[in-house]
Symmetry: C2
Subunit: 229 residues, 2 copies
């Protein structure tokens, strides 16, 4: 007879970018059965969603769901509306910020977690390189965790929720190194805000620049493909 | 030359039921330009969404959006999954509870509010008749308001968000009376969890029973139609 060991379950937000891929690998290494959740919110960079499906399989997620939510109808971001993606760095909150995106994604993750009877959520937010995004900061993660305790059946019954943001204090180079340790295939991840259908990156947007700098700083060659390669 | 007065904007969650209709009327009476938001989350009672569109027009909303989000894929509730809607009262959290529904809806409302530059959200949650739903309590509303201050551009920049839940302490009879004062056409509202395509109610589910009791207690005749009328 075999000993049956039950791993705790976690819902992991998986965009298909490098940060969420490393986060999924970290959840697995921490001993969780991962339920990966992607949001099809009408983003320009659809290749991200294909990447998420591949990464969920490669990184051992027990299940992967893509939930559709049409945020385009709300407008207001270069990632969903007919606004050009900027190709130079800007100060303040960037136009690529999608209003309430992380709040919405964590809310849906929390709903799935209630159904699964999971109490752990993982999100790959990072305060170092995305300091312009209000919903990538530790104060946001803490506030969402507090909300989970009053918003849910489990929370009201006294169970402890935890919102894990293991990348929050890491530099992009740290994230690259952590991913390499954990066997993340970075060639499958898509970071570019305007990747083509094959997932090839533009090399010019903020996300491409941040990624390239991270790999440079880590002294690692990025296996990503660029348009024109 | 006319004096131009700008009213403050509010995003009002509008399900098509009587509580959210009264909430929209209250937002208008309080002097807001209302942007009504409905969520098509794969609910059984689709007639609710048709009702929401009519009510938005009748109650003077400046705009009405219906955002699609397929919560059925997460399962777990009699309102979205293949679980029968119960026809007798139960104790504890009912099976009609949709995991994280109010958190998700408020998150989307917050996103639209950021785009509109609004800082007021209205939600028709009610703690009296829905004591079994964790996300219908004052503690939940307060926690979401706290989250808005750290999750958003406006909040980080020091602007004050307010989540209005004007029905939270009212009985169903109080809600009926408030709606009549404000001219809400209750015949347009759909409460039933399993209304037919014409919006006719079953008279047997929890929502129908609560509604009937509210009108009885208020001493008002409910103009709603029932299946078989």
């Amino acid at each position: 007879m075999s000993m049956l060991q039950t791993k705790p379950k976690a819902v992991v937000l998986l965009s298909g970018g490098m940060d969420s891929a490393v986060t999924l690998a970290i959840a697995k290494a921490a001993g969780f059965d991962s339920y990966a959740l992607s949001l099809d919110y009408g983003q320009r960079h659809r290749a991200e969603l294909d990447a998420a499906a591949k990464l969920a399989g490669r990184l051992g997620a027990v299940s992967h769901k893509t939930v559709k939510l049409d945020l385009r109808s709300l407008g207001g971001s270069a990632l969903t509306a007919d606004i050009d993606v900027p190709e130079q760095a800007s100060s303040g909150i960037p136009i690529t910020y999608v209003p309430a995106r992380n709040t919405i994604m964590l809310s849906i993750a929390m709903g799935w977690a209630e159904v699964l009877n999971a109490r752990d959520l993982f999100v790959g937010v990072n305060a170092v390189d995305y300091s312009g995004y209000p919903d990538c900061r530790p104060a946001f993660v803490a506030a969402f965790q507090s909300l989970a305790h009053v918003a849910t059946k489990g929370g009201v019954e006294g169970e402890k929720w935890q919102v894990h943001a293991p990348l929050i204090d890491l530099s992009k180079a740290d994230i690259v190194n952590r991913g390499i340790e954990l066997g993340v295939e970075f060639g499958l991840t898509v970071s570019c805000y305007q990747a083509d259908e094959q997932g090839r990156a533009c090399a010019r947007c903020d996300a491409c620049r941040l990624r390239a700098k991270g790999f440079d700083d880590a002294g690692v060659v990025d296996p990503t493909s660029y348009v024109g390669d």
